[in-house]
């Protein structure tokens, strides 16, 4: 149970980074941290004491395995978070070109 709580503390740090920081790169780092904590939480849910990894062996029968379903879902989630991060970074680069800053309070005004 303490592992779940530590995972949620990591998520709270991500929320703090997204809401409180003013630099765009720091906000992106907060998003990435939130994604990491959720992936780790999904894998923790499927862990089993004294279980083996979910790959069958040729010579012996493996009786207890960890849960492969959350691992598969987290595998999908990792690749999607890579796509999201690259998209957000490219938008941040465009914003830097147009306004010359990463500060989010200075890019509020419209600029022709």
């Amino acid at each position: 149970m303490s592992l779940y709580i530590l995972c949620m503390i990591l998520f709270c740090i991500g929320i703090y980074g997204v809401l409180r920081k003013r630099n765009l790169v720091k906000i992106i780092i907060g998003l990435a941290i939130m994604g990491y904590s959720i992936n780790l939480f999904l894998v923790l849910l499927g862990y089993r004491f004294h279980g083996r990894a979910a790959i069958e062996a040729e010579t012996q029968d493996i009786l207890s395995m960890v849960d492969p379903l959350p691992q598969a879902m987290a595998l999908t989630s990792i690749v999607i978070s890579l796509g999201i991060l690259a998209l957000v970074i490219s938008i941040a680069i465009r914003i830097y070109e147009k306004y010359g800053t990463f500060d989010i309070t200075k890019i509020k005004r419209l600029k022709g």
């Binding site: 849960d67 690259a86 970074i89």
Partner: protein
């Protein structure tokens, strides 16, 4: 016990990454957090995820460093201090309340329920022929998810190319 140490290490790394003054050093500390996550996956018996996280993190680090290497920002003075702090605290409190509700219903760590997966574990090798059961779940039992994931990745690549393309030259 090892996962506890790695998680505390990750929490410290996350705080350092958010509070560092230099953008380049904060990006590098994010890489440290991600490698600790990769080790945690390895301890939790998920080698597929460990490989994918390692490789994806290297690509993320290259893209982030290229984006921030010559674009540093002098430290901004925080504005609207009271409003921002109160909204952050409120968000975290609401989130922790729902976490507290959810943690009561979860199974104990180390003894998952495995209601759906039991069938996959029994029939996986004979039905699909794949030995690696994670691949069997991703590409055979739940391949719809992979199709949706491929569509999302395709859309994000189209979005990146559309955002980053240089403005076209006007024909005379």
């Amino acid at each position: 016990m090892e996962v506890h140490i790695l998680l505390i290490f990750m929490i410290i790394g996350a705080i350092v990454a958010l509070e560092a003054r230099d953008l380049l050093s904060s990006v590098i500390v994010l890489g440290v957090v991600s490698f600790a996550l990769c080790l945690a996956f390895l301890i939790l018996k998920a080698p597929d995820l460990a490989i994918t996280q390692l490789v994806v993190e290297i690509l993320c680090l290259i893209i982030l460093i290229r984006a921030t290497i010559k674009r540093d920002l002098p430290l901004a003075i925080e504005g609207r201090w009271i409003f921002n702090t109160i909204s952050t605290v409120v968000f975290i409190c609401v989130f922790l309340y729902f976490v507290m509700l959810a943690l009561r219903e979860l199974p104990v760590f180390g003894e998952p329920i495995m209601a759906v997966v039991r069938e996959y574990l029994e029939k996986g090798k004979t039905e699909t022929g794949a030995v690696n059961l994670v691949t069997a779940v991703v590409l055979n039992f739940r391949a719809y998810d992979t199709l949706g994931e491929a569509a999302v990745l395709f859309t994000s690549i189209i979005g990146i190319v559309a955002v980053l393309r240089s403005p076209g030259k006007k024909k005379d």
